[in-house]
């Protein structure tokens, strides 16, 4: 695992250099019209949508926002203790798909989700499934850090409190401390737990949000571009954190950084205009993409 990661990191630098070189060329080449291609390219996902130990399974998922068909017939399995990265150009439906996995789309009135998504074999869209219980099992970290305007302590303690995870104050303290510790934030904030969470820096806020999510001890963590507002140091911290977390949790991460996808994920899913174009092991997708669209995207010709 460590070895492969190192490989990816090495390749990152190469890729970055590559991008520089091709930048000129790309500018001159006419941008292909992918809306046209959409029709001719087959809609079968290439690669392997299945995995060995599936934990969350999405089958033929379609999402409509009113008349806008945002997700088209997506089938994807997410394994236990696996990091899956969702990549693709802006507006292709990554966030939409991610939000389906913990039913955050329920609160969008125009959104309509069809198909089936199961968590550990149970349909999460069935009538018996309470979205509250589901979200306790499938946590979410948002693109923009969004701590509550409460103290750092209360931010982390909120989830355990509403779910009744701690029987007394001491137990709650333990949960808060260990969550902050695992999010790599404890050292920085342990003397100022009473200060408002909004007084932290952006990167610290994002780690606070991660601490808040893992305090509930979910089984799956969804992350929607968690590092988009962060500097490289904070990003590296959060990536290290993901490496750690994936020993216990399944993680689905949306990212616009191919380097990040390469560094943290085991499998990569490439979305395009609502279609899931290609899914495969990370190194395979980045070294030998099967689909032309995927290749164009990772070589920087789309996006």
């Amino acid at each position: 695992m460590v070895a492969t990661l190192k490989n990816y990191r090495q390749r990152d630098t190469e890729m970055a250099a590559n991008t520089e070189n091709t930048a000129e060329k790309r500018r001159k080449a006419a941008v292909p019209d992918y809306h046209e291609q959409e029709i001719e390219l087959g809609r079968e996902t290439v690669g392997h949508v299945r995995c060995e130990e599936p934990f969350m399974v999405a089958e033929n998922v379609n999402v409509h926002y009113g008349d806008n068909h945002a997700i088209r017939d997506v089938t994807l399995e997410i394994g236990k203790k696996e990091v899956v990265a969702l990549i693709g150009p802006s507006g292709c439906g990554k966030s939409t798909f991610l939000r389906c996995l913990n039913r955050m789309n329920d609160s969008i009135e125009s959104a309509r989700v069809t198909g089936s998504i199961t968590l550990d074999g149970a349909d999460i869209y069935s009538k018996e499934q309470d979205p509250v219980a589901l979200r306790a099992r499938v946590g979410m970290v948002f693109q923009k850090p969004n701590p509550f305007p409460k103290s750092i302590y209360d931010n982390v303690a909120y989830g355990p409190r509403i779910h009744g995870l701690a029987s007394d104050r001491a137990e709650l303290d333990t949960i808060v401390h260990s969550s902050l510790e695992r999010a790599g934030l404890l050292k920085e904030v342990k003397d100022r737990l009473d200060e408002p969470g909004t007084s932290l820096s952006g990167g610290q806020q994002q780690r606070l949000c991660i601490a808040r999510t893992i305090a509930v001890n979910p089984e799956v963590i969804l992350m929607d571009e968690p590092c988009s507002a962060l500097d490289p140091i904070a990003t590296a911290r959060i990536e290290d954190l993901m490496d750690e977390l994936c020993e216990d949790y399944a993680i689905v991460i949306v990212t616009h950084s191919m380097q990040q996808a390469a560094r943290v994920s085991r499998r990569v899913a490439y979305f395009h205009l609502g279609y899931l174009v290609e899914v495969d092991d990370t190194d395979k997708v980045f070294t030998n993409p099967q689909h032309k669209l995927t290749e164009d995207y990772i070589t920087g010709r789309i996006g």
């Binding site: 955050m104 509250v132 509550f148």
Partner: protein
């Protein structure tokens, strides 16, 4: 390169015009603000000039003899029906012994307020041991004396044209020289209900009426308004019905207040049989009036809570109720309270709907409960402004000052609450 220069030149060419426009706009704004401030200053100045004298009142110092013959004929204390007027008159005669003629004496008695007799009665009721003693007591002078003292009656004009005769003015001057006449703080203004005699008229009845009404209004309109706002913002589906409700609420806020009075008359008094002129009914009517204001303000402050906070809570597995009560409501509360206080100050200043439900009656007693007949401050102002007596004019202004003071206090509270509770996110 050349292009850059031309851009700069173009910008510079237009700069002078832009600055001129800015200057014109700024001056116009300053003039507009100045006019507004000027009007406000004139308004407050005249109000204070006219009204401030009402906070003082002329009193006469009389040696009251609590004569046992009058108060306790036959050894039996007769608090209820004793001739207190007689006691006051006797004291007045003692002050000016040379007045012996019957009709002159009648003129003399006019110098003292009928309230003096009540004061004597109250004194003996509070301290029965005064029986048989003589005490110097400050009793209210009549409104005419008061007006003369305050310079509202001109002694120089023809005797026929003023309410005091030359003789009466002479007596008043003599009393004044003897140190028997003085201006003192007008406690009656704050401790009495309404009265036909200006010197005895006070705003306590109206203030209590307004107070009871506001209690009813805030107790009903705040919880109902906030609950409605929460439901409409957070739970109600967006469809034609909720649009209809929204449009209607916004319309209600613009309905003339007298219409709410008519509604209150028809529903609360005629149909539900609630008592006429009662603060309870007034409060209900004002609730109808302030409800739309509170709903609109509350919805605006709920809308202002960033959606990311809601998503964060939902993402952690909070139910919609928990999202609302743990996160949205605390953040929206300052705005809601501000809206409520602004609604309340509007309710406090409202008079038209109260006329419809009979709160304009002449009521002397200070109301002690929600069902007692009473008036309200703005209605009292209306009543006094309508009175012909000169002395009611200054009381009208004084009542307006008191009302404005309350409004100022409430709006200040709103500002303080907003400052205190405002949180950044």
């Amino acid at each position: 390169m050349t292009e850059k220069v031309t851009t700069l030149q173009k910008v510079e060419a237009g700069l002078a015009r832009r600055h001129r426009k800015e200057l014109i706009f700024k001056t116009t704004g300053m003039i507009a603000t100045g006019i507004g401030v000027l009007f406000l200053a004139v308004f407050f100045y005249t109000l204070l000039i006219k009204g401030s004298s009402a906070f003082q009142q002329s009193y006469l110092l009389l040696d009251i003899e609590f004569s046992a013959d009058v108060i306790a004929p036959g050894g039996q204390l007769d608090l209820e029906y004793a001739d207190y007027d007689g006691i006051v008159r006797a004291a007045l005669r003692k002050e000016l012994p040379e007045v012996t003629d019957r009709s002159e004496r009648r003129q003399l008695y006019r110098l003292v307020s009928v309230g003096a007799a009540y004061q004597v009665q109250d004194a003996i009721a509070a301290q029965p041991e005064l029986l048989g003693e003589t005490r110097a007591i400050w009793v209210p002078a009549s409104a005419n004396v008061d007006m003369l003292v305050k310079g509202n009656i001109d002694a120089a004009i023809d005797e026929e044209l003023r309410t005091l005769s030359d003789q009466q003015i002479g007596w008043i001057e003599r009393l004044d020289e003897a140190g028997r006449l003085d201006l003192k703080f007008n406690a009656a203004l704050f401790s009495h209900g309404d009265s036909r005699e200006p010197e005895l008229a006070g705003i306590k009845g109206a203030m209590m009426g307004s107070f009871f009404m506001l209690i009813v209004t805030i107790a009903l309109s705040f919880p109902i308004g906030v609950a409605a706002a929460i439901y409409l913002e957070e739970f109600a589906p967006r469809n034609r019905w909720s649009d209809l409700v929204e449009v209607n609420i916004n319309n209600l806020a613009a309905v003339p207040s007298i219409v709410f009075g008519l509604l209150g008359l028809a529903v609360f008094i005629n149909w539900m049989g609630l008592p006429r002129s009662a603060p309870l009914v007034g409060g209900l009517v004002l609730t109808l009036l302030t409800l739309p204001v509170i709903i609109i303000a509350s919805r605006a402050s709920i809308k202002a809570v960033p959606p990311s906070i809601r998503e964060a809570a939902l993402g952690l597995g909070a139910s919609r109720m928990q999202v609302v009560f743990h996160h949205v409501l605390p953040l929206a509360m300052p705005g809601m309270l501000t809206g409520a206080i602004i609604g309340m100050s509007r309710a406090l200043g409202e008079s038209a709907p109260l006329l419809m439900i009979g709160m304009i009656a002449f009521i002397v007693d200070v109301p002690g409960s929600f069902a007692d007949p009473s008036t309200a401050l703005p209605v009292q102002i209306y009543l006094w402004a309508d009175s012909p007596e000169r002395a009611f004019a200054e009381r009208t202004s004084a009542a307006i000052i008191v009302l404005l003071a309350f409004l100022l206090l409430m709006n200040l509270t709103a500002v303080i609450i907003r400052r205190r509770m405002e949180r950044k996110w």
